[in-house]
Subunit: 342 residues, 2 copies
């Protein structure tokens, strides 16, 4: 990143608020000398966090006042209607006004999606925004969407997700021509529900690199750069994966703590276990993209620590620098032979 | 098990056929002196396998001829129409005729489901059979259904799955009053699709022990004895879990093989790694139940080895001994205040 870039940070969001968002923001501006971050939230709390971490006086960090905070369990409709001066809302407003090129929030997912959709609007040709994240797999990583924004999806929605996700992977991922798979309960043509079968047809007929159905276990063997599914299924796939990984970690801990001998073994195996933990560290993959909006919005995990929130900011920086929304808009224009709108 | 019991084994099914099914059957009859197994398939191949493993002459093992085998990739409709003398079909026919109290097959899932449904029929009040299996979790295990038989499900179907699964857990599981959870993308009331929301209402209004929505990561923390979902979602949850577990195993292997030091650590940690593998060993959980039919049908993993297939036979023995289908029928009768039909 060389050009000047400004991002709006919902500095009050997430389980830990400024105690995490402020030091993460400080680390981000140290890494990117031309980056400016608007820290949106309660000025007193933000000043205090800046002072506590020795970050006062940086010209790259600008406090942007907002008097309210959206609760982690607040209903999205309530947040949208009654919290017009929340740190989340003001951060998104800054994207809308053009003062910021992206917004990063660790707040309530539903409220973030509802507010971003209301304020920024979707791109022409996109019915619904989707949530996309990066997931580690053997020999690499893949991206998956939707992860919970849309519980019921038509074939057209799934196709739109594929378009948006492939633009993202092209721009900020590892694949120039992303392999797109449709999540299904088998690889055979005859399997799956009607939406998935029709989406397969749409993808086959398009110029995208469609590689067919992907069964959920094969996602982790690097068979696709992008896995497309409805939000219900995607959420279940992601959460099942997280649940099993946590269970295996717990089993490993228990087995290594069983007796003196196994505790000694744990000491010997420590570098290996650390390497394993590093490879699976969810913090390295923090920062999900809300795709399909007229602006870049990044959702950090609510329980993110400083390292994880830094990663979410980094995701925002990359997507803003690449201007993902206008790339998606251009791609939709090509696919549907219309002029770009934005 | 004390009473005499006869099971029909599709001895040609699965990736390995008689080389796995025959020694597994021999081990099962050794464990249960009053168990008889009908080994259904090609008599020559079965005789040969029996001789090879020293199992000829056992009065508990009876060869039952069948001239055909259903291919692992064969279309269910084709198998049903054209392979009327397949080992799978004949094994199911023996359940229908009352000669066997259960059928165990490692064959093609779709063909097994289609044939079992056609031959045995569903219980009154059950629209669709479902596939149910046991999954390990922290401090125990849980059962989950449906795992792929039904891609689209109404609320009523989900409710039927809950009834069938809870009868199974009561009879052969660990819980006298199984906690039933509905798989959803969040624990809040407002989340989920319409089918799931309506199924929640049906469960709340019933006498079953409904514990609410369960998010996929929490399944692995022993929050429910039975997790209910449609077959598409269930398949994705199960396969995602398997994929992540396989990936973590692979990462562990790679990290332990990285250099001389880590290889030495692997030697020291070997008992721990073996204990971990034992706890996660999918063979211990082999044998999925096709619930909702007028007979016990157990589906073994196609790639099952002898230990795994033995476990599937064991599942069949338990469910036959408890007569799960008539228990389900009786429960449906209670719930809908009708006389038991079977």
């Amino acid at each position: 990143m060389t050009a000047q870039l400004t991002l709006a940070i919902d500095a009050m969001g997430g389980d830990f608020g400024p105690s995490v968002t402020v030091p993460a923001a400080m680390a981000a501006v140290r890494r990117h000398p031309s980056l400016r971050l608007l820290l949106v939230g309660d000025p007193a709390a933000l000043e205090q966090a800046l002072n506590a971490h020795g970050g006062s006086g940086s010209e790259q960090l600008i406090i942007e006042p907002a008097t309210e905070v959206v609760g982690m369990d607040e209903l999205p409709s309530q947040a949208l209607r009654y919290k017009k001066d929340s740190s989340m809302r003001v951060a998104i407003d800054r994207v809308k006004s053009g003062d910021a090129a992206a917004c990063v929030s660790a707040g309530n997912t539903g409220a973030l999606m509802a507010t971003a959709r209301y304020v920024l609007k979707t791109l022409p040709g996109i019915d619904r925004p989707a949530i996309c994240t990066t997931i580690p797999c053997l020999d690499g990583q893949f991206r998956m969407l939707d992860l919970g924004a849309n519980v019921d999806c038509t074939a057209e929605h799934l196709f739109q997700f594929a378009v948006m996700g492939s633009v993202l992977v092209e721009a900020v991922g590892d694949a120039a021509r992303p392999r797109i798979g449709l999540l299904n309960l088998g690889e055979e043509e005859i399997k799956g529900n009607d939406q998935v079968k029709q989406a397969a047809q749409l993808l086959q007929d398009s110029s995208l690199e469609y590689v067919g159905y992907v069964e959920a276990d094969r996602m982790f063997r690097n068979v696709a750069d992008l896995v497309v599914c409805d939000g219900f299924t995607g959420n279940v796939a992601l959460k099942s994966s997280e649940g099993v990984a946590a269970m295996i970690s717990q089993f490993l801990r228990e087995e290594f703590q069983r007796n003196l001998l196994t505790r000694a073994a744990a000491l010997v195996a420590l570098p290996v276990l650390k390497a394993l933990r590093r490879r699976l560290d969810p913090r390295r993959y923090n920062g999900a993209s809300l795709l399909g909006l007229r602006g870049v919005v990044i959702k950090s995990h609510g329980g993110a620590d400083q390292v994880a929130f830094e990663e979410a900011i980094e995701t925002g920086v990359k997507e803003a620098a690449e201007n993902i929304p206008s790339r998606i808009d251009a791609r939709l224009g090509e696919l549907f032979q219309r002029g770009a709108v934005e």
